[in-house]
Amino acid sequence: MTTLIRFLSRNKPLVGLIVLMAAVAVMSPSFLTVDNLLNILRQTSINAVIAVGMTYVILSGGIDLSVGSVLAFCGAVCAWLVAGDLSIWLAIPLSLLLGAGLGAVNGIVIGTGGVQPFVATLVAMTMLRGATLVFTDGRPITTGTGAAADAFWSVGGGYLLGIPVPVVVAAVVFAVCGLVLTRTRFGRYTYAVGGNEVVARLSGIRVNLEKTTIYALSGLLAALAGVILTARLESAQPTAGAGYELDAIAAVVVGGTSLSGGKGTLFGTLVGALIIGVLNNALNLMDVSSYYQMIAKGAVILLAVLADSRKSS
């Protein structure tokens, strides 16, 4: 019992999530149903996958504003490949590789080029949005009706053992990236670079290489989110993912990770993403207009961050 209390006192966001879910369950009887909960998870999965990469980036002391544009660009390329009836076993890896490559460019501009992460990824965000509009000619790319397209749809809309595929994907991403972050040298170095870059360098860490890898990971996961979104909609929208970077950052911050780097957990990000997902769902169930939803969402983020800053001071 005392260990449970200690665990909860160290995981305030989790307490917040539980309280939020209890409150919503009381107010809306349709909230605590299997269908609705799976629905929340599916809706959260895209933001969650992006937020995993964002966690790495923020832990390393950076920020990645380009994820929404990477999502759109890689989603469009993937849709185009699938529409050309390329096997999804090729189309998806190629799209992910593209995302990793775009992220790596961010990392090189930031590390070797010495450009501030905010600026570098803002530039990438703008340029890639433009590139997406050029590539799609401003129109959605549908995946068509080929054999590849059918297989592709299941990535977004299918079920695995009764669980939506995007949820399974997000769960695997969290598990793998969580282990990498806590158990491997790369994870330790990510914390070290964000904790103090000078110390990291003097400890023999190739800081620029680390950053390149971290932003590549963020790009790869943004591309994965793009693939899932495209598959679900059976088409790539040129404006897809706009504003997603802010949702991902919100999930990371609500999860207790410090924007100044070096401190935070992926578990916190998972909880943060779920808080935002539950909140969206609850406000929909209660028929709150989307205008008020934005205000409510902002207020919850502020509350979470205030509670967190109280803890650290």
Binding site: R183, R185, F186, R188, Y191, G195, S203, G204
Partner: protein, 503 residues
């Protein structure tokens, strides 16, 4: 201690009596008297850490003294609780690191925050320019007031600082190592300006390590040592040897345990090494030897240490470890070659303050603690960290404790352990006892001697002279990025080292 009878308080521009100040229980200034007259150039000298900068920070209102001490300025009793008060009273300080905004013009910098306004409330640029020009002419400078400060030489920038001080109607101007970055010609110009300020009745406090300048320029001198004022008098009554004696005259106690070791084979050979702040340095060091590096602040010791480790770009020269040449482009190369560097600044360079003891200690050696796929073998890591925690008797609430919660001595032990986890051949210790209390110092000296006994080659860079003399087998003295003196243990004295350090 201070000679002379109590002088009457009147007649002094600045008169401080019995100033005391401590930080975190360490006394930095103890009962210091400091006074000078209008039209007097007073030298303030002392070793690093003697308390000079703290004294100046008290005079300029940046810090407040602890003990009830009387301070009068221009005949009035004053108490500065903020820098603003001192500036308003007429005290200006020109810091070693100049406080100018490089992208703004000379006139903008001089009038920053006090720009003259015209009737419309807008900045009167014409007046700013005119008055800036007049001030600079008083200093016999022909600098265009519209030029951005960043385009001026360091000497000219200093003149802009002095002009700003004059524009504030400063009666007392404090200069901290003003000639450090100046050429000989610029120094001569500066001296002339200082003499004309003296003729105008300004008081000048001149802080410098360069004894030659003090004899050339100053009227009187105040010497601080370990927070005490140990001498005050006219410069004319002293010679250089006497001044050095006043500065360093401490006695060495047995708190520095020397460990005689048979000289091992040569482990480190540095030849003609040049890097930023390091000019053509050559030396060798053997296993089981402590090679001390003496020098004043900015002499190039830290830069040398970093260059040997690979943390700064080498311009020329070579480094060999156990006979094999090392290519140094990144600290990683130093680590791979068996060179460990323990930085002077634990907060900024040594340890990640907000992270745990465990992750800090294992950070540099992590590769050796990883299995396939870069997975950290956490059991091995724990064992290694626990071993050092016990061997160094670190006091902490477990290895998960954040480093910032530890005392300076314990942090230094973690920093040392972090370097030793690499099983290095050469260890570079940069100010290993800075900010470490006396008890923990003794422990750290013991640890250093243990490494020596194990046949490691140790480079000890320290501004603490007794420590250096007490522990080292040989001592090299640095000044201006070069080695200016080499002494064996038996021939080294504080006076000889100081003479080389200010050469």
């Amino acid at each position: 201690m201070a000679e002379g009878v109590m002088e009457p308080q009147s007649g002094f521009l600045l008169d401080l009596q019995g100033v005391g100040k401590g930080f975190n229980g360490v006394t930095v200034l103890d009962g210091v008297d400091f006074r000078l007259r209008a039209g007097e150039v007073m030298a303030l000298i002392g070793e690093n850490g003697a308390g000079k900068s703290t004294l100046m920070r008290i005079i300029t209102g940046i810090v407040q003294p602890d003990s009830a001490s009387a301070m009068t300025f221009r005949g009035q009793s004053v108490k500065f609780t903020a820098p603003r008060h001192a500036i308003d009273a007429g005290i200006a300080m020109i810091h070693q690191e100049l406080n100018l905004l490089p992208h703004l013009s000379v006139a903008d910098n001089i009038w920053l925050g006090r720009e003259p306004r015209n009737r419309l409330g807008l900045i009167d640029r014409g007046r700013m320019r005119r008055e800036a020009k007049a001030l600079l002419e008083r200093l016999r400078q022909t600098i265009d007031p519209d030029r951005p400060v960043g385009s001026l030489s360091v000497g000219q920038q200093q003149m802009v600082e002095i002009a700003r001080a004059l524009s504030l109607n400063a009666e007392l101007i404090i200069m901290d190592e003003p000639t450090d970055a100046l050429t000989d010609v610029e120094t001569a110009v500066l001296f002339e300006v200082i003499r004309s300020l003296r003729a105008d009745g300004k008081g000048i406090v001149y802080i410098s390590h360069r004894l030659g300048e003090i004899f050339a320029l100053c009227d009187s001198v105040t010497v601080l040592r370990d927070g005490h004022m140990v001498h005050r008098g006219a410069v004319a009554d002293l010679d250089e040897a006497a001044l050095i004696r006043h500065m360093v005259g401490r006695s060495i106690t047995d708190q520095y345990p020397y460990l005689p070791c048979p000289a091992g084979p040569e482990r480190l050979a540095v030849e003609d090494l040049s890097a930023e702040g390091v000019n053509g340095v050559s030396f060798t060091a053997a296993g089981g030897e402590i090679l001390g590096f003496a020098g004043l602040m900015g002499a190039g010791r830290t830069k040398l240490g970093k260059a040997i480790f690979g943390a700064s770009r080498l311009r020329a020269g070579s480094v060999r470890v156990d006979g094999a040449e090392v290519r140094l482009r990144h600290p990683r190369d130093g680590v791979a070659a068996g060179i460990a560097y323990v930085p002077e600044d634990r907060k900024a360079e040594g340890l990640i303050q907000a992270h745990s003891i465990r992750t800090n200690m294992s950070l540099a050696a992590l590769t050796q603690l990883c299995g396939p796929g870069g997975v950290v073998r956490q059991g091995d890591e724990r064992t290694a960290v626990d071993r050092f925690m016990a061997a160094f008797s670190v006091k902490a609430h477990g290895i998960g404790a954040e480093v910032r919660t530890l005392s300076g001595g314990n942090q230094q032990k973690i920093s040392l352990a972090k370097a030793l986890m690499l099983s290095p051949k050469v260890v570079i210790l940069d100010e290993p006892t800075r900010g470490v209390d006396v008890g923990a110092r003794r422990e750290i000296y013991g640890l250093i001697n243990d490494l020596k006994a194990k046949g490691l080659c140790i480079l000890l860079m320290s501004s603490d002279m007794p420590e250096l003399l007490g522990l080292s087998d040989r001592i090299l003295v640095m000044a201006g990025g070069r080695i200016t003196g080499r002494f064996g243990r038996d021939e080294a004295t504080q006076e000889k080292i100081m003479a080389c350090a200010i050469a």
